[in-house]
């Protein structure tokens, strides 16, 4: 099976991002770029699938030369090919524009690969903007079936079965291929690259595909900081009984109890 995994390059999600007062924008200093966590789960799912059932995994992202970091990483942990899709403006692009350039670039990637994609995967949401829209909007641009938040995919006749995560359990769906899906966190973690694979990935070419975005439907305006919560009372006493008694008095006067 030919699988495409769409990446977004995001700032390290373990770094707390604050406001850069001089620009009024997020302060991304100290947060190294990386592939979005849910996209790395999608890649691991795709890599495992092709290792078991055959096929190849292609990775792509939308952006500029700087966004190749996540593709280099992807090439070291399972992707065999990678493409950079250009044409949007990171400052102003909305989710639908990202989806529109992906949709325009996909046939070009298929042509270059010499094979059509059977499955197009996106992470369920990015860890920076947390928009959760690109996979859904991309799916609307193809006449393919679509499932969100999958944690497993297996072959079934000519199509596939997908296990979809719900709030209260899972659904199993059967669908024909080609298909589009978004990926949630499966019960395994993405693999780490070997040094050999890392070096090999660094040498691999990443072709660029230019595409024209659709008109923006959403305009991104100012960032702000959410209202700060005031810290209340902090009780510290060597005797836990005393500490709890003090706490109870506060809870009663605050009408919590």
């Amino acid at each position: 099976m030919e699988i495409l995994v769409c990446f977004k390059q995001v700032p390290d999600d373990s770094v707390e991002i604050g406001m850069d007062a001089s620009t009024g924008k997020p302060d991304l200093k100290g947060a190294d770029p990386q592939g979005n966590a849910f996209d790395t789960y999608a890649l691991e799912m795709a890599a495992r699938y092709t290792e078991e059932h055959g096929g190849t995994v292609t990775a792509c992202t939308v952006g500029t030369e700087d966004d190749k970091v996540c593709l280099k990483n992807a090439l070291a942990v399972g992707a065999k090919k990678a493409y950079l899709v250009t044409g949007t403006d990171a400052e102003t692009q909305d989710a639908d524009q990202v989806a529109s350039v992906l949709a325009a670039a996909i046939p070009k990637m298929e042509e270059a690969n010499g094979a059509k994609f059977d499955l197009i995967l996106c992470g369920r949401e990015s860890t920076d903007n947390i928009g959760g829209q690109v996979g859904e909007l991309l799916a609307q641009k193809f006449p393919y079936p679509f499932v969100t938040n999958i944690v497993a995919v297996d072959p079934k006749d000519d199509g596939a079965t997908m296990k979809k995560e719900l709030d209260e359990g899972y659904q199993v769906l059967e669908l024909p291929l080609p298909a589009v899906a978004t990926v949630s966190k499966p019960n395994y973690d993405p693999r780490y690259p070997t040094i050999k694979n890392k070096l090999a990935a660094r040498r691999m070419q990443i072709p660029e595909i230019a595409a024209e975005p659709a008109d923006a439907k959403v305009e991104y305006l100012a960032f702000s900081e959410p209202p700060k919560r005031q810290a209340g009372v902090k009780i510290q006493d060597d005797d836990d009984e005393v500490a709890v008694k003090q706490a109870m008095e506060i809870l009663i006067s605050d009408k919590v109890l």
């Binding site: 989806a99 609307q140 059967e174 959403v218 305009e219 702000s224 959410p226 836990d240 109870m248 919590v256």
Partner: protein, 320 residues
Amino acid sequence: MNVLAFIDVKDGKPIGTSLELLTAAKEIGETADAILVGEGLEEAAQAAAKCGAGKVSVVEAEGLLTEEALSSILAQAAEAYDLLLLSATTLGKTITPQVAGKLGAGSANDVIKVSVEDGKVKVLRPVYSGNLQQELAIKTDKAVVSVRGGSYDKPQEEGAAAPVEKLDLAAEEDALRSKIVDVIAEAGETVNLEDAKVVVCGGRGMGTKEDFESLCGALADVLGGVVGASRPVIDSEWISRTRQVGQSGKIISPDLYIGCGISGASQHVSGMRDSKYIIAINKDEEAPIFEIANLGIVGDVKKVIPILVEEIKKRKESEG
């Protein structure tokens, strides 16, 4: 602005966060209608009708709907409106862009405020784990937006009920290619964290699965609340992932939140910072959760929680 609110139903009743949409819809819309999709919806439709909707439409659809089928139905229903509002649940967040894509509408997920300026929808939404927020203007005539639970008050029930009418819509053919062949329920997972008034969350600082279960469980029980957890607890499989509070888990805003052995990483805080009252119990006095807690107790959860449970019990008994 003509606004339609999708009322999601669980066990025959509207989920609380979807009724909140009617408050937002009435605030910004000349019309604020509601739509329900599924089967056995009479009671839920009546509940929505009493919560201030102008009109309640019920689309009868048998059996389990795929998200594609539901998106198709909602897109058809939303044709007659300027704005479709959904609750930013797991389902709502995935349906929102699907409907928007079908309508060619601009959309936004998980917003905490919706307003209208010059006939266009404007929203505010948290980004970067809730450390920042960003304002967005939707430029298209139509908009589809999912609203985070707790952002608007639940509407009061009114005396007069709005008319409820059947709406004859079905999913389009091309939305029926994926089929649900099995449903796997997670044992004991009927709890709705988003609608709970009291949530007791345990973190890695609870030490062991046994202590997490017994101590957080006892505290939740005495307060009539439910147990949630931070990501490390979910990863250690001490409790089902459906109880995860924070980014990529549930976003909650209960009346009372108690964090036990939770340090307060931004990924967790982004899911509970809008709680009305926050209590934190942690032995690390530097834990960042104390910076947002109304009441912090520096101490060992294993010692503090049992005493606290006893004191609350006594207090409840004395109150009768």
